[in-house]
Subunit: 241 residues, 2 copies
């Protein structure tokens, strides 16, 4: 089918769920605006959090979308998923394991069709792993490399990478594993792409040429060769590249 | 040179450093036994924690090894690192980023020579990333995929994988990122290799056919299709495969 939307319109959220809340609850107002006028979207279940099946994960997503009157169909149920992406009215990619998600999208040849569909204006929302793939690469994921993807490149819907579930150092913690900040700085010894540390409760909102930090919290920005800095919610990130 | 050691002899430690202690301090007695009679070892600095240079990292390692009377030379200073591995009297691989370490070892063609050297009895110690590479694969690392290695396969010195810096869920933490246990269970939806969650202060000690958990803490064992369980320090892990 034709796409009647010409302006890019998407949400990349740090997390699907806030502590003590229902799945996607805090995003409901943003989802209502994003998917306005759309009655069915395609759900991309490949990240499989905790190993949940594609069917069960789709049922979970459908439950949350029912609250805003949108039907959900899992991408895994289409015989020709590339064609399904081309004709979809909207997308939601759930969180889970980014390596698994990226491997599947590459191996099924879906990265390119999905990129095209979002770039011509089909509304997209991602949470966690589903947001990671909106960046230039998945190289700032927190996930464990449980499978080997053919490439770490992702959709490049934005001109930077995301670190979802960004976590500040925990005061008093005696654990000697690297902090998130240390890990992102290590990334910048090898790469130049800026990274946005997106705290739980925050999301990136893109409409046309605007790129805005939304939600309740500030985000931490990491650029190669600079000290990390905070940006307040509501700030534009359009110049970050 | 000839190897006069015929029995495998190595240590894979969760961390280099315990909270509030000096680098490698808690491992000093174990190192004295491992490297007994050896006056110089080769240090593998490729994991570069925090982006430290190969030279600076080697200096840091040399400082800790001076305390047990062992000289250290960085593998990066040899014109032919494969030959250096073949003639080394002992090895230490420091922690840092496992993706970086594994990429370097594969690209320089060093995985195979190192595996052979350790299997014929050259003493080896790894910490953190340097322990991850002792497993079948690096797929249970906690690190960020800051570079794309040509393969996730590693030395296979033991018949299982390690998750160094193993972290129990932190009570009261309202962060919604996956726990370490969830991540390892996700790994087992895609793979069968057992995983040892090695807490900071513990290490795997291998001498000949013995494989023992050492240090002060128990370890958490994850086998595909089983509930995770604890093993006490001093236990044999030789049957885990």
């Amino acid at each position: 089918m034709l796409n009647f939307f010409l302006m890019k319109h998407f949400i990349l959220a740090s997390t699907s769920t806030l502590f003590g809340e229902e799945y996607l609850a805090y995003l409901q107002p943003a989802m209502t605006a994003l998917y306005g006028g759309i009655d069915e979207i395609v759900f991309i279940p490949y990240a499989r959090p905790g190993g949940i099946s594609h069917d069960d994960y789709t049922t979970k997503a459908a439950g949350a979308f029912a609250a805003i009157g949108v039907k959900v169909r899992g991408l895994h149920t289409f015989e020709d998923p590339a064609a399904a992406i081309k004709s979809a009215r909207g997308f939601f990619t759930g969180g889970g394991n980014t390596f698994l998600l990226v491997k599947q999208l590459h191996e099924l040849g879906l990265m390119q069709p999905l990129q095209t569909a979002v770039n011509v204006g089909t509304p997209y929302m991602g949470c966690s792993a589903g947001s990671n793939i909106g960046g230039i690469s998945m190289q700032n994921t927190n996930d464990m490399p449980i499978v080997y993807p053919p490439s770490f490149e992702t959709l490049g819907l934005i001109s930077f990478n995301l670190n979802p579930h960004y976590l500040d150092p925990i005061p008093g913690l005696q654990h000697m594993g690297e902090t998130r900040e240390t890990r992102i700085k290590e990334y910048h010894t090898q790469n130049d792409t800026p990274v946005v540390g997106l705290r739980e409760g925050s999301w990136i909102y893109v409409k046309g040429d605007t790129v805005t930090l939304q939600g309740t919290l500030s985000a931490r920005i990491f650029e190669a060769g600079k000290e990390p800095y905070e940006v307040a919610t509501g700030s534009s990130l359009a110049a970050l590249k």
